[in-house]
């Protein structure tokens, strides 16, 4: 591909007790929307803040538009728009005043402020104090501030966490509009599968500071044509499933909900093998469900956990 807008090369970051990011590399092409998906504590915020130049990697290199943060900070700040996972703006400042303040940092005037306020749908809240905004309105304010400078690169850390489905959809609409109109590249972190599926053309799943899997949505879900996801429970659940050689898929057994899960490559040839496996090990099937693969299933089969756990 042509020069990527963001290139991350083998980046590591540790805190006192944890290795938050353990050797992540990625490239983001111009104009693409990328989702970084992962459960709590996966290292999403740490990774994104290193890309934003807010945290420094212990090891590895990050290039934005081919430039490092060191020596190019002033230039890069002009073209990046971002929202942090959690920011509380000045309580007793009105929406329009808060926007104007941030606009002035980019030498932008009232016209752009008005434009953005209507873009994020806060027209009837422009005179409201920030402290009196609802959660969704605050997220839209943060998004608006991220969009003020018409950024080439947009980095959003969990822009819809904690919102109800309606508020979440409103933010998706704003971002989808942006995707159609401008050449912005975006990285967004999220716990929500649906968000990644709706907004992004490339998905990176990370857990415990490492990339588990990445690709386009289609690539991920249709790696092998006709993959199915199987979930089953047993009448006589064991503490641990016996290992198997005759059955090819990796079965993950969740002790908490007493359910087993695996991904089936070919239903016609592989499903009988599964029944043989149960019989050989004296396991009695209680219930079984077989359906098309979703991202959540993919994640669960990779880690044995749900994404939003």
């Amino acid at each position: 591909m042509e020069q990527p807008v963001i290139e991350v090369r083998n980046v590591h970051k540790s805190f006192k007790l944890v290795q938050a990011v353990k050797g992540i590399s990625l490239k983001i092409a111009a104009g693409s929307f990328v989702a970084i998906l992962g459960p709590n504590g996966a290292g999403k915020t740490t990774l994104v803040e290193m890309i934003e130049g807010i945290q420094k990697p212990d090891q590895g290199e990050i290039l934005i538009l081919g430039k490092t943060w060191k020596n190019n900070e002033d230039e890069l700040r002009q073209v990046i728009g971002l929202s942090l996972q959690e920011t509380r703006f000045i309580d007793k400042l009105r929406v329009s005043e808060t926007m104007s303040l941030f606009a002035s940092f980019f030498k932008l005037g009232k016209d752009r402020v008005d434009e953005v306020i209507s873009l994020v749908g806060l027209e009837d809240k422009r005179k409201a104090f920030v402290v009196n905004l609802s959660g969704g309105q605050r997220q839209r304010l943060a998004l608006g501030i991220a969009l003020l400078n018409k950024p080439k690169i947009l980095l959003l850390d969990e822009p819809t966490t904690g919102l109800d489905p309606n508020a979440r959809r409103e933010i998706w609409d704003i971002l989808n509009k942006l995707k159609q109109q401008s050449g912005t590249s975006m990285i967004l972190t999220t716990h929500y599968m649906e968000e990644a599926e709706r907004l992004c053309d490339y998905i990176i799943i990370i857990d415990k500071g490492e990339i588990l899997k990445e690709g386009t949505l289609d690539q991920m879900l249709n790696d092998e044509q006709g993959e199915k996801f199987v979930e089953f429970s047993l009448k006589n659940p064991p503490g641990q499933l016996p290992t198997t050689h005759e059955f090819p898929s990796k079965i993950s057994w969740n002790v908490e909900d007493s359910k087993g899960r695996f991904i089936l490559g070919k239903v016609d040839s592989q499903l009988p093998l599964f029944f043989d496996y149960l019989k050989n090990n004296n396991l009695q099937l209680n219930d079984m469900e077989c359906r098309r693969l979703t991202l959540d299933d993919l994640f669960t089969s990779l880690t044995g956990r749900h994404l939003d756990e």
Binding site: G53, T87, I90, L93, S104
Partner: protein, 378 residues
């Protein structure tokens, strides 16, 4: 308004911080009024000592050759111990009245002329002047200062008890309501400097730590905002507020108590600004690292509390032990308080305040640059 100006970072930052301040009455109350009330309580608690030292100036009578000893002369001859150290501000005689129940009272006497006695009174080194004229004893003190009243009562009792000529006519009281010598004249400059310190420390320090803990600081520096403008705007807003608040206080005191500024106005402004600058520097320094508002509280208190108690905001620091006075006089709040008091009450000008002015400005610069070096924006 000029469009470029209205869109400029600095203007918008000042505007935002100013609006934030005036829209939050709680900030004004908890940041300023509450510390005043609390320190008032502390101040009272600290003045109640069991062993009391009362300092008095005695006006030396002109030697008219009559050879007759004044009452005070004979009292001092009979009862007092002479103190040999004769530096300008020390005392010549001391009398200790033992009292097992209420604590000892020690009177320190200084014989001096009227002019010097007044200066000592204005500075709070003494609170009573004794003058003997034509065989009568005159007591000069501020009747609104309860401490001075007590000195008067105790001293007149002492005079009666000593088999010196019984006083038939009670010594006449000459209330010192002359501007510049009353307790209120001492108090107003104290309140001004306390307000400057509190407002800088709580306003600037707490403002920075709070923004850091809310991740707002981190968000702001993730834009092309000039970091120096951010700090400058916080400081500017505080300076302006302090100026207005002090002005109102002086205006009020002028109406209510008829206080006046006897010295140079420009010098007053200069030392006021230097004091603001020093405390702004200290505020930036102590808020340069922590993101925890409770640690911030502790740090601010650690700076503010000792000076509140020691620097002579409500009562003269000359009541503290002698060895501590030189240390106390080097505290920034003491320098500012003494400087402003000398301009208000002693008619001082640039000649008297250039030293504290220089030291305060310099410490502002030092703390500011140290703070910037270790400042944590994220």
């Amino acid at each position: 308004m000029n469009k470029y100006f209205a869109n400029s970072q600095l203007f918008q930052l000042i505007n935002a911080h100013f609006k934030e301040l005036i829209r939050e009455p709680g900030v004004l109350f908890w940041g300023i009024v509450f510390p005043i009330l609390m320190s008032l309580g502390l101040g009272v608690a600290f003045t109640q000592k069991t062993d009391v030292v009362r300092k008095v100036a005695i006006i030396e009578t002109n030697d008219d050759g009559s050879n007759s000893l004044t009452k005070s002369d004979s009292l001092l001859n009979f009862r007092a111990q002479e103190i040999s150290d004769l530096s300008t501000d020390s005392f010549n005689y001391s009398i200790t009245i033992p009292d097992e129940q209420l604590g000892n009272t020690t009177f320190l006497f200084r014989k001096t002329n009227w002019q010097h006695a007044m200066l000592m009174l204005k500075r709070g080194k003494i609170n009573l002047i004794l003058n003997e004229k034509d065989g009568k004893t005159e007591y000069h003190f501020d009747p609104l200062n309860p401490d001075a009243q007590l000195s008067y009562i105790k001293l007149s009792a002492l005079f009666g008890k000593n088999d010196i000529k019984p006083v038939t006519e009670v010594g006449s009281i000459k209330p010192l309501t002359l501007t510049g010598t009353r307790y209120i004249d001492f108090l107003i400059p104290g309140l001004i400097v306390m307000n400057v310190m509190m407002s800088c420390m709580w306003g600037i320090s707490y403002g920075i730590i709070d923004r850091r803990s809310k991740k707002l600081l981190r968000r702001m520096v993730a834009t092309p905002m000039k970091k120096s403008y951010f700090l400058l705007s916080l400081i500017t807003v505080r300076f302006a507020m302090n100026f207005v608040e002090s002005g109102l206080l002086v205006l009020f005191a002028w109406f209510a108590f008829n206080i006046s500024i006897q010295g140079n106005y420009a010098a007053l402004l200069a030392i006021f600004m230097a004091g603001n600058f020093a405390f702004a520097g200290i505020a930036i320094f102590i808020s340069s690292y922590t993101a925890n508002t409770e640690v911030g509280n502790g740090l601010i208190n650690a700076v503010v509390m000792p000076m509140m108690v020691l620097s002579g905001v409500f009562f003269s620091y000359h009541n503290f032990p002698d060895w501590s006075i030189p240390v106390i006089q080097k505290l920034p709040l003491t320098m500012l308080a003494d400087g402003i008091r000398s301009i208000f009450n002693e008619g001082a000008g640039f000649g008297e305040i250039y030293l504290p002015f220089g030291i305060l400005t310099l410490s502002g610069i030092v703390f500011f640059s140290l703070g910037l070096k270790i400042f944590r924006w994220h």
